[in-house]
Every structure is written in structure tokens, then in C-alpha cells.
């Protein structure tokens, strides 16, 4: 029981830490694409850590099959839907000419598809 509690607490801590990192990144980053990268951080390990924790909590502490299985289904759904959404936003941003910080001088999409 105490071991389970430690594992679940560790999963919650991991989720909280990566969510904090993602939010700080979204607020601090200088352009839209880098903000997108940081927001992926929130959606992957931030959300998946907490959902893994609630799934373990549902299975072993509450003895409720529904909560455990539904947590896993929500996690899988986030895992499948999040990349599609961020891919769509990235392409839309590049197509409508959002400012991109080009520090490395390497913009091969802009070179191949001039506006």
C-alpha cells in the first residue's frame, strides 16, 4: 500500500513538473512555433503522467474497473489526437505567414514554398 502510494505520488509529481515546464515555455518562448513545442510538453508527459496515476489509483485503491479503463482510454485518445492538432496548427501558421524566429538561418520550407 505504501509502495503504491509512493509510485502514484511520483507519477503525479512527474506530471506536475512537466506541465509547469510546458506552461513556462508557452509563456516565455519568443515565437509561435517554439510555443507549440513547449505545449507538446504539457500534453504528453504532463497529461499522461497524471492519467497513468489516476488509472493505477482507480484499479488498486478504489477497486473500480471503470475509472482505470477510462483513464487509459483518455490517455490513448490524447496520444492519437494531439499530434494531428499540432500538425494542423503548424501548417496553418506557416501558410498564413506567422513570424518565425529564424536564428539558425535554416528555413527550408520557406525556401521551397515562397509566399
Amino acid at each position: 500500500m505504501i509502495l503504491l502510494r509512493i509510485i502514484i505520488d511520483a507519477l503525479f509529481l512527474i506530471g506536475g513538473f512537466f506541465a509547469l515546464a510546458g506552461v513556462v515555455g508557452v509563456i516565455r518562448m519568443p515565437d509561435s512555433y517554439c510555443r507549440m513545442q513547449a505545449s507538446t510538453n504539457t500534453a504528453t508527459l504532463g497529461a499522461l503522467g497524471i492519467l497513468a496515476g489516476t488509472s493505477l489509483y482507480g484499479f488498486f485503491v478504489l477497486n473500480s474497473l471503470a475509472i482505470g479503463v477510462k483513464s487509459i482510454v483518455i490517455g490513448l485518445f490524447i496520444l492519437f489526437s494531439n499530434p494531428v492538432a499540432s500538425h494542423a496548427i503548424a501548417r496553418a501558421a506557416k501558410r498564413c505567414g506567422v513570424y518565425m524566429l529564424n536564428k539558425s538561418g535554416c528555413d527550408q520550407y520557406g525556401r521551397d514554398n515562397p509566399q
Partner: protein, 88 residues
């Protein structure tokens, strides 16, 4: 008393504070794309808060609502980005 009420409550409150912090980017964001990104993050964090609250109150109904919220967030993000793409 079988639950871990303390951890669940603290984590949910922490996520709520992070959502409020992200509202800065929603209000200030220079372009619509920034607002969409911040809104998408807020959406996925709302899903997490709902899951935590469902585990706290031991009711599976909140998980159904969490799935629907995440579905609506995904659809609205894709629709807004299609709209922005067509506008240029």
C-alpha cells in the same frame, strides 16, 4: 479513509493555477495562432483536472465528460487551423 485526498487535491489545484497562468498568453498573444495554442493547452489541462476530480469523488461520470471535453478541444483546434489556413 482509503483515498489519497491530499495529493489529488494539491495536484488539481496546481493544474488550475497553471491554467490561470496560461490565460496571460490567451489575452496577450500577438497572433490568433498563439491564442489557439494556449487554448489547446488549457483544454488538455482541464481534461486532467476532471480526471483528478473524478478519482477524488470516486465517480466515473467525470471521465466521460473529460473524454468529451478533449474531443471537443481537438475538433475546435483542427477547425480553427483549417479556417486560418484558408484565410491567407
Amino acid at each position: 479513509m482509503t483515498g489519497f485526498n491530499v495529493e489529488l487535491t494539491i495536484t488539481a489545484a496546481f493544474y488550475g493555477l497553471l491554467c490561470i497562468a496560461l490565460l496571460y498568453r490567451v489575452i496577450k498573444g500577438p497572433h490568433a495562432v498563439d491564442r489557439v495554442i494556449a487554448g489547446d493547452s488549457i483544454d488538455s489541462m482541464t481534461v486532467v483536472i476532471m480526471a483528478l476530480f473524478g478519482a477524488l469523488s470516486n465517480r466515473a461520470v467525470y471521465f466521460d465528460m473529460a473524454l468529451i471535453v478533449s474531443l471537443l478541444g481537438f475538433i475546435s483546434t483542427v477547425v480553427i487551423s483549417r479556417y486560418l489556413e484558408g484565410r491567407s
